[in-house]
């Protein structure tokens, strides 16, 4: 689980003190829209106080799953339960969940404070108490003194802050975030995601966060659930997801991945770029041509060992492009078979390999994922 600096203990009567997370379970969710299957047996469990990011390409079903949890849609099959209590058929109004939407969702005819007080007013909380809560929550989200402003008088980031305060005002059992940062510019997005995470941890509120931005998911979530075609591919802590992807899809979807040609030489070992590496996970049969998945930071370079006129090694290539990224530089290398590989090197080392220079790829001696080469299979 991600950790941050411990937050100051909330006051006993504060909103944070009144909220604690609960466990959320999604089990065997199926949902189709006509011929389109949005969810196909989707399972996910959230521990109390955990923030799980639903990550996946467009159309993978992540928003459908969130809308089913919120009660805005009903699954064809499967259940949603909160602390063991089945909510699947319960109306959205009775679920006690707070949601922040992708589009600006503040009520345009109400001020920021009135928006925050909308939920408490429905719960018949008196106006004095409502105002006190609204002030407290607006201060929490960095909007102190702006309670009298209407939504059109606020920037996009400010509107989303108020929307977060409004969602928290109903003391939700679960907080649902539907790409709340996607409409904001990069700087505000970065700032707000750190702050959402800090508030979520302070409140200890169970949170389901939908995003298509892998950086956002990896930086904010305790666990990231990668979805594909309506089902779960892998749900793991960000570091595990990145370092040990369970499937080729996760490996390709999260971060940048090289696909180097290789061959299984014995059970659990693959030869790639002239080196032998252990295979992580399922290993194709001996002799199978495979694609070996290696992260750019797991590739090193050395000046070409083959002299002119002699046979090149399997990992030999030529530097095509250098992209400066700050502390590191990404070098794109064209290999002898015409494919390309990317290697991230510290910038001071990358300068040793100018564009056009001949190099040898050196994969780090770590277990790698190997998947059957689709081209080879098709041909064969």
């Amino acid at each position: 689980m991600n950790t941050t600096a411990p937050a100051p203990a909330p006051a006993s009567d504060s909103a944070a003190a009144r909220m604690r997370g609960v466990g959320l379970d999604l089990s065997g969710l199926h949902r189709s829209f006509g011929a389109t299957r949005a969810l196909a047996g989707f399972d996910l469990s959230l521990a109390p106080g955990e923030l799980v990011a639903l990550l996946g390409p467009s159309g993978c079903g992540k928003t459908t799953a969130l809308r089913i949890v919120a009660g805005f849609d009903t699954p064809d099959q499967g259940t949603v339960s909160l602390d063991g209590k089945d909510l699947t058929r319960l109306s959205a109004a009775k679920r006690d969940m707070g949601m922040v939407f992708q589009s600006y969702s503040l009520f345009p005819h109400l001020t920021a404070a009135q928006n925050v007080g909308f939920g408490p007013r429905l719960r018949r909380i008196g106006s004095a108490e409502r105002d006190r809560q609204a002030d407290e929550l607006l201060e929490l989200v960095g909007m102190a003194g702006m309670g009298g402003r209407y939504p059109h008088q606020l920037s996009g980031g400010q509107q989303q802050r108020v929307a977060l305060a409004r969602a928290l005002a109903v003391r939700p059992k679960v907080l649902l975030l539907d790409e709340p940062l996607s409409a904001l510019d990069a700087k505000v997005r970065l700032q707000l995601r750190e702050e959402i995470r800090r508030i979520q941890q302070e409140f200890g509120i169970t949170t389901l966060f939908v995003t298509h931005d892998q950086e956002e998911a990896l930086s904010m979530a305790d666990r990231v659930a990668v979805m594909r075609a309506g089902s779960l591919e892998q749900c793991a802590a960000p570091a595990e997801l990145y370092d040990r992807p369970a499937t080729a899809f996760v490996a390709q979807f999260v971060g940048t991945m090289n696909h180097l040609s290789g061959q299984i030489i014995e059970a659990g070992r693959v030869r790639v770029a002239g080196r032998e590496l252990p295979v992580d996970g399922p290993c194709p049969t001996v002799g199978t041509k495979v694609k070996v998945l290696i992260r750019p930071e797991s590739l090193d370079l050395a000046a070409a060992s083959a002299e002119a006129g002699t046979a090149e090694s399997a990992g030999a290539g030529q530097v095509l492009m250098a992209t400066f990224l700050g502390a590191t530089t990404r070098l794109t290398v064209r290999l002898g078979d015409g494919s390309e590989a990317k290697a991230d090197l510290p910038s001071h080392r990358a300068s040793e390999f100018p564009v056009g220079s001949r190099v040898d790829l050196i994969p780090a001696p770590r277990p790698v994922l190997a998947v059957e080469d689709a081209d080879d299979t098709a041909e064969g």
Binding site: F101, S105, F107, F118, L122, G142, M143, S155, G157, E202
Partner: protein
């Protein structure tokens, strides 16, 4: 408690004037544009000015007098007919919105493919002649009253035409006012993200009626107001249907009863006054709508 340390600095400026509002610069109005505008103004102003002249100038005594305007409120039948019309108009507006609002919300949220159907249905009354409509209604009511007394159909036909509870008028007026109310509401609905508003409200714990009352209707205020004013104006001006069905609302009173007043100046005075009143209300709605656009629904600065 931890608080967010800062907010992004790009808070939207508070707009003080309506977008697009520009001061009219008469020097930039070209002569031909002025000519077209002048003709249009003459088209409206000349009849009204002539009407006003007729009401205040006595051709026999060659004197001006505002006395016809003073007689309006004391004229026999005036208050009764106005009150009758107001009741019918309010009933019309209530029935119209009870039918239209749920239907339009349902189509927008769940059945968007039915939108063209609803739009076509709402526009049908535009091509329906009021005379044809009322003749049909009269025939059906007549058929009802030809049934045996005491049968529900007979009683219903009688009740619908009861001068004290003239339900048949708002029922028919709902049909002829439908295109105006629909257009006003539809224009308002297009300016808001109805689905998000509804889901935000439902997610916060509001029941469906509360969602419509507290989250949807306040954001359709301009459309609701415009539709109501147009319906009110239509009901106040409608003559054919009420006259054939033998009711005496304001319009029928102007034509049939106020003509008997001295020198015939009362009827045009009443017409002129009601016209000015309608304009005042429409300007007020337009003004409120303009303010609403700035205060409530304009999100361009987001």
């Amino acid at each position: 408690m931890t608080t967010l340390t800062e907010t992004e600095p790009e808070a939207a400026p508070v707009r003080k004037t309506a977008p697009g509002a520009r001061r009219l610069d008469l020097r930039r109005v070209r002569w031909w544009r002025g000519g077209v505008l002048g003709l249009l103004a003459l088209y409206f102003v000349v009849p009204l000015a002539a009407c006003f002249w007729f009401t205040v100038y006595d051709s026999r005594t060659h004197q001006f007098s505002l006395s016809p305007y003073g007689q309006i409120f004391g004229a026999q039948g005036f208050t009764t007919s106005v009150w009758f019309t107001v009741k019918v108009a309010l009933l019309t507006i209530v029935i119209e919105y009870l039918l239209l609002i749920p239907a339009m919300i349902a189509v927008q949220l769940w059945l968007p493919r039915l939108r063209p159907v609803l739009e076509s249905l709402a526009m049908v009354p535009l091509v329906l002649s009021p005379v044809a409509l009322v003749v049909g209604v009269n025939t059906v009511l007549g058929w009802g009253t030809n049934q045996d007394p005491g049968t529900p159909l007979f009683q219903l036909s009688v009740d619908l035409r009861d001068p004290n509870t003239p339900w048949i008028l708002p029922i028919v007026y709902v049909l002829i006012a439908m295109p105006f109310a629909y257009r006003s509401l539809d224009a308002s609905m297009r300016t808001v993200d109805l689905r998000t508003l509804v889901e935000a409200s439902r997610g916060l714990g509001a029941s469906w009626p509360l969602t419509v009352w507290r989250a949807v209707l306040p954001n359709l205020r301009t459309g609701l107001l415009s539709g109501a004013i147009l319906t009110l104006a239509l009901v106040f001006g409608e003559y054919t249907i009420s006259s054939i069905l033998q009711f005496q609302p304001f319009s029928v009173w102007i034509v049939e009863d106020s003509q008997g007043a001295q020198s015939g100046q009362l009827a045009p005075a009443v017409s002129l006054l009601s016209l000015l009143l309608s304009w005042a209300v429409l300007f007020l709605v337009s003004f409120l709508g303009g303010r609403r656009a700035v205060v409530g629904t304009d999100r361009s600065s987001a």
